[in-house]
Amino acid sequence: MDILGIPLQALLGQLMLGIVNGSFYAVLSLGLAIIFGVLKIVNFAHGAFFMLGAFTAFLLAQYMGLDYWVTLIVAPLLVAAFGMLFEFLFLRRLYGLDPIYGLLLTFSLVLVLEGGFRVAFGSSGQPFATPEQLRGTINLGFMILPLYRGFVIVSALLLCLVTWFIIERTSLGASLRAATERSELTQAFGINVPRLITLTYGVGVGLAAFAGVLAAPIFHVNPSMGSSLVIIIFAVVVIGGLGSIMGAIVTGLGLGVVEGFTRVFYSEFSSTIVFLVMVLVLLLRPAGLFGREEG
């Protein structure tokens, strides 16, 4: 059976790949949305933290001989700690100023991190082996799916749901949301808002780093692996609605699929399609698909 001259089988295959890519978009844009929601900072360094996650895992495996499963936990924690230090030392000073300052600071961090890793490891990247348990493929009937990609989908979605649950359904999430909306009032209730903010930044950065470790066996670890993604992630967050947690997750997955289909029909357009969707959404629903107009 053909749809628009493309065999159904090929379309299903691309759908699956779209979901894999969408999983990365979802985890990354989730972190970005949380950070923007709470800190009101446009975290341009999100892609760099993604790259840092991959490189940290690479270095832990290479020089300390750590197992992939250990690095999957340890690397995001280390990068999150680095992110919290960055928030504590630098980013904190910019709250309440024009968002452009935050953007400039985080962008400069991108240049420093990417430049540093390029000098140290070169531009063509380092190989990162797929964990042994996940080598091999499964035949889905319409495509041969590498086992590891299946693992990416499952773990990314699980992580997204857990994060969503914590923010929307627990008391920690409740104080977090309170701090976002009325930070002074929240502080009056005895909640340490600055610490909560640092923690939030750490979680956002940790999510990016986790996605980085997930991506390492697929994309080859190289210094620019984050910068090609970060622009798309921004578009995802804008389309989903700034600050909307569920919006970021659903839009991330959806755009991955849209992009995958574009690769089949008109490959040259695949790097542009996300932005076309963004333009349309901004025209029709300026607050994004899941956003609320601020009154």
Partner: protein, 409 residues
């Protein structure tokens, strides 16, 4: 209070000073602004940094040092700049160098888009450009110039090497994964021609943007095409990601990837496990003979890495340019062009190499195969020579070139 200089000291010192300036004027009369200045325009921060980048600058510096730092008593200076893989940035930097900074020759020029743009500026400004790191054969065809030399390799030589040998080996249906700019498209065209000439068939192509990380979708398309050979018309990180994706999706046993432009550095990055058995057409390999080993050892000591063919080409072409300046006794571009085409190139990089009227440097190319991890006996022992392609066969025959400098065009 310091003593006032006497009248006598003033006379003597001004006489000495003027003598000095007369002497230097005599030496540099034939040399624009008294210096031969070489600019290395390369990718210092992007996807092709590993292929040329800082090591390319170092190769040119080595050549200048080996040449003695001066030519006919005139000092040689090396400067460098980053074109950021953008043709407009490259072209405006070249224009600034030629017009304001007295640059006589621009070397390296990674990225075909940049190389074509800079070649146009070189032609217009009548100054030299030597292309070592890009492949587009437009440089010796429609965009040829008496001031532009295409030195190390080109898309034609890649097609004759890797493309031809795979076709001869029986791979006659092809699908291309092509990077969407001058380099990839030019390479795809050249190889398609070789495939069709041999009676083969090109069943399709997918174009991807420069610096793509995710090739899974293209890998599926390649699988679906049913072609025997998946030709990868990209290089550096793109080619590495493509090869990995094809390996990951387990292209069916009757499909094989063929990387059309692999660099020595790509093998380092891929690792022998993944790269073993791949073919590459390279003009230079560090471990080919005693001369290449001697150069590579010195290069390694300075940069901490083994040179690839572009680095070797940067060195060799700089020496050749300086030889031409020395023979011409001037850095006047026309006289140097004439000498560059007159003099033969004999060094570790080329033997009996010469530059044709369309700017093509003709020299032997080599087809290599990547060793398996078991075959590799020492550090950087990666390649095995398959065959040597004589210069005359490796490059486009002159009668096929559309260059306006050739008779009859």
């Amino acid at each position: 209070m310091p003593a006032k200089p006497s009248f006598k000291t003033l006379v003597v010192s001004s006489a000495v000073l003027s003598l000095g300036s007369i002497a230097s004027a005599m030496a540099s009369d034939d040399y624009s602004d008294g210096v031969v200045r070489i600019g290395v325009l390369t990718d210092m921060s992007g996807i092709y940094t590993d292929l040329s980048g800082e090591a390319a600058v170092e190769a040119v510096r080595m050549a200048v040092e080996d040449f003695g730092g001066e030519v006919n008593g005139v000092p040689i200076e090396v400067i460098y700049g980053d074109h950021r893989n953008r043709a407009d940035t490259g072209a405006s930097r070249a224009r600034e160098w030629y017009n304001n900074d007295g640059v006589d020759m621009i070397n390296d020029l990674s990225n075909s888009g940049v190389a074509l743009a800079v070649a146009a500026v070189a032609d217009e400004q009548q100054r030299h450009a030597i292309v070592n790191s890009s492949s587009n054969i437009g440089l010796t065809n429609d965009y040829c110039s008496p001031y532009v030399t295409h030195y190390t390799y080109d898309a034609y030589s890649l097609a004759q090497g890797t493309g031809q040998s795979i076709v001869e080996d029986g791979g006659d249906t092809w699908f291309f994964l092509t990077v969407d700019f001058a380099f990839g498209i030019g390479l795809e065209e050249q190889v398609s021609e070789v495939v069709r000439d041999a009676g083969g068939q090109v069943v399709g192509a997918a174009r991807h943007p420069l610096d793509t990380t995710d090739f899974s979708s293209y890998a599926l398309q390649a699988q679906a095409s049913g072609a025997e050979i998946i030709g990868i018309a990209s290089t550096g990180a793109d080619a590495i990601n493509a090869i990995n994706a094809l390996a990951e999706f387990g292209v069916t046993p009757d499909q094989r990837p063929a990387a059309l432009l692999l660099w020595y550095d790509d093998i380092v990055s891929l690792g022998l496990d993944t790269a073993q058995g791949l073919l590459l057409t390279n003009a230079f390999y560090w471990d080919a003979n005693d001369e290449t080993r001697e150069f590579s050892q010195r290069f390694y000591e300075r940069t901490g890495r083994m040179p690839n063919m572009a680095h070797a080409g940067n060195y060799s072409s700089t020496i050749h340019y300086l030889n031409a300046v020395e023979a011409a006794g001037t850095d006047a571009p026309d006289a140097v062009s004439e000498q560059m085409r007159e003099l033969e190139i004999n060094d570790f990089f080329a033997s009996g190499g010469y530059i044709r009227d369309n700017g093509r440097m003709v020299h032997d190319q080599y087809l290599w195969e990547v060793k398996s991890p078991d075959e590799s006996e020492y550090d950087y022992d990666f390649l095995r020579l398959v065959t040597t392609i004589p210069g005359e066969d490796a490059f486009q025959p002159l009668d096929e070139s559309t260059c306006h400098l050739l008779n009859g065009n």
